[in-house]
């Protein structure tokens, strides 16, 4: 662990400012302006995932045109190909992919545990075999930050010891404590604290005491923002929301809160109510490539036969370029002929996510977020008895009752 003196020297002003624009008087929701090195971000915000330095068939101009202010890149993938040296030569990931707005990079740890077989975690870091050349590689906190420094992202994530959210027992506690030690190593390793923000990741599994302990420790560090990690991995939703709300209860008001891996519309709206500002998920873009278009009443499977002769747009009220020009029937037919069908749905789904978050923000600013939640849920589910009980409970915990 870093000594107190060491920590003090690292207390440079971070390249991040959070202005709270409005707070919901009923729930824990807030609307903020998050000023990052490349541009301001209006929160609550959904951040699309551009794993390998590209957002699945969409050009950076298209992404910008949809109003996206921040997207993700994955350190594990980019560190493997094309590698940090090349990206550094290209003026960072911004230069390499020519994206003018903000970027957030993860630590690479999650992919290592989820994608790579034979990965092994010890105090030093995560050891794994490269799937490309079989070489043994060690991803330490220092190495992760070094790669992220090369990528030049506006927000970097600490390397954390990721344990599946369904695991219980001493391993969870070990991972939580190790994540705290690794946070200190990451802070010490950051070469660009004046240009790149390093976020801590709260761990502790589904155990409230461990979460609380982690929060106590990590909030003592001088980091510009916090992420809530280790969730969204197949745990019960009842456990999930309780861990989220516990975290936001103890996170400092003046710093951004990023809930990792969350992107379903209902989850977004509920977790905004629980006080989260930032979200990311591959779901909207991945599901698009399978022909699933997101709509206010759920989703629409464009490839299903029932849409072959349906000449309406995906969502008649959606202002995205896809809905402005193309019908469900044409997209259905195009899926059989060209990859551009996927791009059309990807554009629509990103537009859906970003529009949803803009509406959420506006309702917070206007002081009518609880009403927004109620009409959102009404639209999403055919009848109130279909509301998921966890969402009803979570919303009730922040004083919003659904009829």
């Amino acid at each position: 662990m870093a000594s107190l003196a060491q920590r003090k020297t690292l207390c440079v002003a971070s390249p991040l400012t959070l202005r709270i624009v409005a707070e919901c008087p009923v729930t824990k929701a807030r609307a903020c302006d998050l000023i990052l090195p490349h541009s301001a971000v209006s929160t609550p915000v959904f951040m699309p995932v551009g794993t390998q330095g590209t957002l699945k068939g969409i050009t950076v101009d298209q992404l910008d045109g949809l109003g996206c202010q921040i997207c993700l890149g994955n350190t594990y993938h980019l560190g493997m190909r094309p590698g940090p040296d090349l990206i550094e030569k290209a003026n960072g990931l911004h230069g390499f992919m020519n994206w003018k707005k903000n970027l957030l990079t993860d630590s690479g740890g999650f992919q290592m545990v989820s994608l790579v077989e034979l990965s092994e975690v010890n105090e030093e870091g995560v050891k794994f075999k490269s799937p490309y050349d079989g070489k043994e590689i060690l991803l330490s906190p220092e190495k992760s930050i070094s790669i992220q420094n090369s990528l030049g992202s506006d927000i970097m994530m600490q390397l954390d010891d990721v344990v599946s959210s369904t695991v219980t027992g001493p391993r969870v506690e070990e991972a939580m404590h190790r994540s705290i030690r690794w946070l200190d190593r990451c802070i010490a390793a950051n070469k660009n604290p004046d240009k790149q923000n390093l976020f801590a990741i709260i761990q502790g599994g589904l155990n409230a005491d461990l979460r609380k302990a982690c929060l106590d420790e990590m909030t003592q560090r001088n980091v510009p923002g916090f992420a809530i990690g280790g969730l969204s991995g197949g745990e019960e939703k009842d456990d999930f929301w309780r861990m989220v709300t516990l975290s936001t209860d103890h996170l400092p008001r003046e710093k951004p809160r990023y809930l990792m891996g969350v992107g379903y519309a209902v989850d977004l709206v509920v977790c905004v109510a629980l006080g989260c500002d930032m979200f990311d998920c591959v779901f909207p873009t991945r599901t698009a490539r399978f022909g699933s278009a997101l709509v206010p009443w759920g989703s629409l499977q464009v490839k299903h036969k029932q849409y072959a002769k349906d000449f309406q747009p995906i969502d008649p009220d959606c202002p995205c370029p896809t809905c402005k020009r193309h019908s469900r029937a044409y997209l259905h037919a195009l899926f059989k002929s060209d990859t551009s069908a996927m791009h059309h749905i990807t554009i629509h789904n990103i537009a859906y996510q970003l529009t949803l978050m803009r509406s959420v923000r506006q309702s917070i600013v206007d002081g009518r977020f609880p009403e927004f939640i109620r009409s959102f849920m009404k639209q999403m589910f055919p009848s109130p008895d279909q509301y998921p009980s966890w969402a009803v409970d979570a919303l009730a915990s922040v004083n919003v009752t659904l009829e």
Binding site: K56, T59, R81, A90, R325, A329, Y330, L334, S337
Partner: protein
């Protein structure tokens, strides 16, 4: 079909054969035009492969005519019938002329399925057998601005017998007559133009007969079929096209099917072809390559030759890994492109083509394209399609300029040297190039 609305206004005919002009009166309201020699905009079901309207419209000088293939539309006939508004509206194409061809020039069509009364097309769901009645029923639902009449084009293989060739000419004429009869009695097809199809394989007399007979019918223009890359060498192709051109009226356009390689395009323009299908940039895109051939003719001839030499030395240095121009296989890389999957582009921070103004070259570098290709990212296809289409459109524009200014020879010499250079580069087994 009382007098077609399409008018070809020729401004120049060079050496009695190469034609420069404008095709006017396109589209059902006649407001579109297309400069010739020119190419059509290739599409998959009305969409330029990989592109959306946003990415397509980053391009300048997009050809006014989009080619849609009956092979891709046929399986959606029932849908279009219910839609009623025609294919253009169905596909969200507001401002383009739609030309409907029978086959997809970039897809192989297996032989052996043609009969006296039918031809077959392959869509995503397999083979669809078409009689003239069915063919015309589909055209009525598509409501294109112009279409290729049904044709027996199964004669491109080099060993096709004279008897079979004669039969293909006869059948194609019979199909045309039947198409025209139905067409003239159809309310839905009023104002729509028909292109007759010239067949006859590699036999000069059959080609001439096919052209002569087709020209007697009330068609707006001609498709020259059975000349696709790989079916015959360019000397024979030139000879046959010249013979056909002699039989065709000067004021109607000639569209050559299945030929897109720049050197072949130049030779065919010299033989009298006006229009080409724009599928070549798509094929280049699909193999992860970028068109890079130079067609600058703005320099004075002497300096241009010097510059050519420099250019070629540098190109030889880059060493095209494939070198050989294989005629038979359209999926093989040609000497007009660079293979961006090649390791040498890993850290190459130049645009695909220096000075190119396309969206890809203005915004991205070879190293990024290389990365997108090796990681199988969808954006690779998008960016390459933008660049390759822009490059190809630029080539045609220069080709017209060369025709207007007597510089066709200079443009041709660039191609010849390019091909000669690429032939001289061979790849040794360990991957090193040697001259």
């Amino acid at each position: 079909m009382a007098g077609s609305r399409i008018k070809l206004e020729l401004s120049r005919v060079v050496q009695g054969e190469s034609r420069l002009g404008v095709l006017k009166g396109l589209g059902r309201t006649g407001q579109h035009c297309l400069e010739v020699p020119g190419c059509l905009l290739y599409s998959h079901l009305g969409t330029v492969p990989h592109l959306t309207q946003d990415t397509l419209h980053t391009l300048k000088n997009i050809p006014a005519v989009t080619q849609v293939t009956l092979s891709s539309v046929a399986e959606h006939q029932e849908v279009l019938q219910e839609f009623k508004g025609g294919f253009k509206k169905f596909a969200g194409l507001h401002d383009t002329v739609v030309y409907c061809s029978l086959h997809d020039p970039a897809a192989l069509c297996p032989p052996g399925y043609t009969t006296n009364k039918t031809v077959s097309v392959w869509g995503s769901g397999g083979r669809i057998e078409l009689t003239v009645a069915k063919f015309m029923a589909i055209q009525k639902t598509i409501q294109p601005d112009w279409y290729q009449s049904m044709a027996d084009g199964e004669t491109w293989q080099s060993n096709t017998s004279r008897k079979r060739l004669r039969k293909s000419v006869d059948r194609t004429l019979a199909h045309l007559d039947e198409c025209l009869t139905i067409h003239q009695n159809s309310q839905d097809l009023q104002g729509v133009e028909v292109f007759g199809v010239v067949e006859g394989g590699d036999i000069l007399e059959e080609r001439a007969r096919s052209a002569r007979e087709t020209a007697k019918r009330p068609v707006a223009g001609f498709c020259l079929d059975g000349f696709q890359t790989g079916s015959m060498d360019q000397t024979l192709r030139t000879q046959l096209i010249k013979a056909i051109a002699k039989e065709l009226p000067e004021d109607k356009p000639r569209l050559l099917q299945g030929v897109g390689r720049p050197d072949e395009v130049l030779a065919c323009v010299e033989a009298g072809v006006d229009l080409f299908e724009g599928f070549f940039p798509f094929q280049v895109t699909e193999r992860g390559c970028a068109l890079s051939f130079s067609f600058d003719i703005s320099l004075d001839p002497e300096r241009a030759v010097l510059e050519l030499n420099d250019d070629e030395t540098c190109r030889a240095g880059e060493g095209q890994p494939n070198g050989e121009v294989t005629d038979g296989d359209q999926t093989q890389m040609t000497s007009f492109e660079i293979n961006l999957k090649d390791k040498r582009y890993h850290d190459d921070f130049r645009p695909l083509v220096e000075g190119c103004g396309c969206y890809c070259c203005v915004n991205h570098q070879r190293a990024y394209l290389h990365h997108l290709l090796v990681t199988n990212e969808l954006l690779a296809g998008v960016l390459l399609m933008i660049h390759n289409t822009a490059h190809y459109i630029g080539f045609f524009s220069t080709l017209r300029e060369a025709l207007a200014n007597d510089k066709l020879d200079l443009l041709k010499r660039r191609q010849v040297i390019l091909i000669a250079t690429s032939f001289s580069v061979t790849v040794t087994p360990d991957g090193f190039e040697s001259a």
